[in-house]
Symmetry: C2
Subunit: 356 residues, 2 copies
């Protein structure tokens, strides 16, 4: 009989990181997008009186809010509490997050000159982020911290529309009518997203997730030609993986991306997030055997009765076996009205169903 060496467990050996790399796991890892947020009473208490973008730049608040769901639910990963517009705000773009609305941009980007006038993100403005990540990594021990950044396209939609949008019509019109300005805008956003992620990895984040929430509003042809290269540039900006530079698992996420799944591997992601519209076994066929899948319970299912929740969780775990690796998650963020007890239950159920 051999004895295991007495080294403390490390996030690099966690089920999350192993599943992301396609390695065998003890149990299917599970975390939830927006697990740190409004579904938790302790979050609402902590955030009271502090604006969202202020909270995201306060290392104490970021640390505590990021840890809350790990303590409460026993999820297999923490995700940095942040907002996709934060790198823009830190760089000096005038953006406010209006409760019940979303990010509102004071001077939307409508011309080439607007693009050129966007300030770049100086790494020395990210001390708050480095501090928060270092503290989190120390507190989390063997639990991995997933770094967070918004993808160039989704950030561009906010800058161009001036706020949240249903149709993203201005964004597409700009993309079609001003291809050079479009490219320059997305290149700049890719540079700042990479800067934002590098600081997180350099301070100990064990994986990164790029949120391209609205990529699914594009046709595959437009996505491939006008967006994908810029998302890839973000991941490439982490360094040369072959030489081991910041070689942490990379997760790509978007909603309504069914038609884009065959392309998403080219972004350079190890893990492709899938929403509830495409069953994971079908998603595995579209994405191909070289990627792990993340998802894909419909967040609205968590508002239903326990029987429905359990049935749907079982289905997702079962269909996830078709992928080379599966990270259980929702297909989009936790809805604010979700009962946190249900989230804890889902973590337990996924672990129980997938225990080797």
């Amino acid at each position: 009989m051999s004895t295991a060496p007495a080294v403390p467990p490390s996030p690099a050996d966690s089920d999350l990181v192993r599943a992301a790399r396609g390695l065998p796991v003890d149990r299917t890892p599970v975390w939830f997008m927006r697990q740190a947020g409004r579904s938790l009473p302790e979050y609402r208490a902590l955030r009271a009186g502090t604006a969202m973008l202020q909270a995201c730049q306060d290392p104490d608040l970021v640390t505590e809010i990021t840890l809350q769901p790990v303590r409460r639910h026993g999820v297999d990963a923490a995700i940095l509490f942040s907002d996709i517009v934060l790198p823009l705000v830190v760089a000096g773009v005038d953006i406010e997050i209006k409760p019940g609305v979303g990010p509102v941009v004071a001077s939307p980007v409508r011309t080439v000159a607007d693009v050129d006038a966007l300030p770049g993100l100086e790494p020395d403005r990210l001390d708050f982020l480095a501090t928060a990540v270092r503290r989190l990594v120390a507190e989390l021990g063997p639990t991995p911290l997933i770094g967070f950044a918004g993808a160039p396209f989704t950030l561009a939609t906010y800058l161009i529309e001036g706020g949240p949008s249903k149709e993203h019509a201005r964004t597409k019109a700009f993309m079609y009518a001003e291809p050079e300005a479009w490219t320059r805008l997305l290149e700049r956003l890719a540079v700042s997203a990479a800067t934002f992620l590098r600081v997180q990895v350099d301070n100990g984040a064990s994986a990164v997730q790029l949120f391209d929430s609205w990529a699914g509003v594009l046709s595959a042809a437009d996505y491939a030609a006008r967006v994908l290269p810029h998302s890839r540039a973000v991941f490439d900006g982490l360094g040369d993986r072959e030489r081991g530079e910041r070689d942490v698992p990379r997760v790509h996420f978007g909603v309504g991306t069914g038609e884009l799944l065959p392309l998403l591997g080219d972004v350079g992601a190890d893990v492709v997030g899938v929403d509830w519209r495409v069953p994971l076994d079908e998603a595995a066929r579209r994405v191909g055997p070289q990627r792990t899948l993340q998802g894909n319970l419909d967040p609205a299912v968590l508002l239903a009765d326990r029987e429905t929740v359990d049935r749907e969780v079982r289905r997702v775990v079962e269909q996830g076996r078709a992928a080379r690796g599966h990270v259980f998650n929702l297909g989009h963020g936790v809805l604010p009205e979700t009962d946190p007890g249900v989230l804890t239950h889902v973590v337990e159920l996924v672990h129980e169903l997938s225990q080797r």
Copy 2:
């Protein structure tokens, strides 16, 4: 040489109806969802001072607004100017359309009792509709009028959410948690949609379109089990096609339905509307050879430069050749900021590209 009989051309012989039935056409027919509406200055002038739901019940306004885009653009079909919540409003449900928001329901449906309390739609309240349709058919001559109704699922989302929604979380929670009430609600909505369409066909509409705009938020499994039967009930409610009862082409439309396309034939539609996410040649494979396709230019393309518009129109016409028949349209409604001159140009270009 034979001589054609001297009968006047009829909507039943129009390219729209022929394409919908999979018969040869002279040119690809083209119309636009929301062609009657805010993109037209003559519409904005006519609507000034009249609330949306009031306008939809005024036969003079309905007739004139429906005719405006036919006169201006030379489209191959008129679509009845209406709103998907109108049958509910006529039945007595308290709904207001708030400008910039959408339909707002005074007392949302949250319980079984709420479902049972919903008033049914009495056909004798639809005289305004019969009048408008008769006048339109007389005015339109050989140009077909497409009848209009909202599908049970999309109507249910407004009733349950109380208004427009991004996540449709309450709707799904109700669907999962209250399956019997859900079925009863959708059955009732199917009955009133069928009533609404029957009046239009009985007064001369040459085709009908069922708008299930938000069906794409559902997984295929949920759509098949909990929604599809009710959309089929609407079409079945038109009568027995085998016996020639109201045997007009039936169009089904929804946004983001890529995963649902293999199912949509089962709704009983002759024509399946497709948005810009799925190219029409791929959509033809998913829908199968027994249906005509309608779509699928991204409405945002119409905000771009002329070169982009022309390139994308050519692509859609080309890809549409893969279907047994093609009705050119947008993938969703005309955006209010669209230059009407571009719409006229698209009609001419589609006709030119498809002239036999």
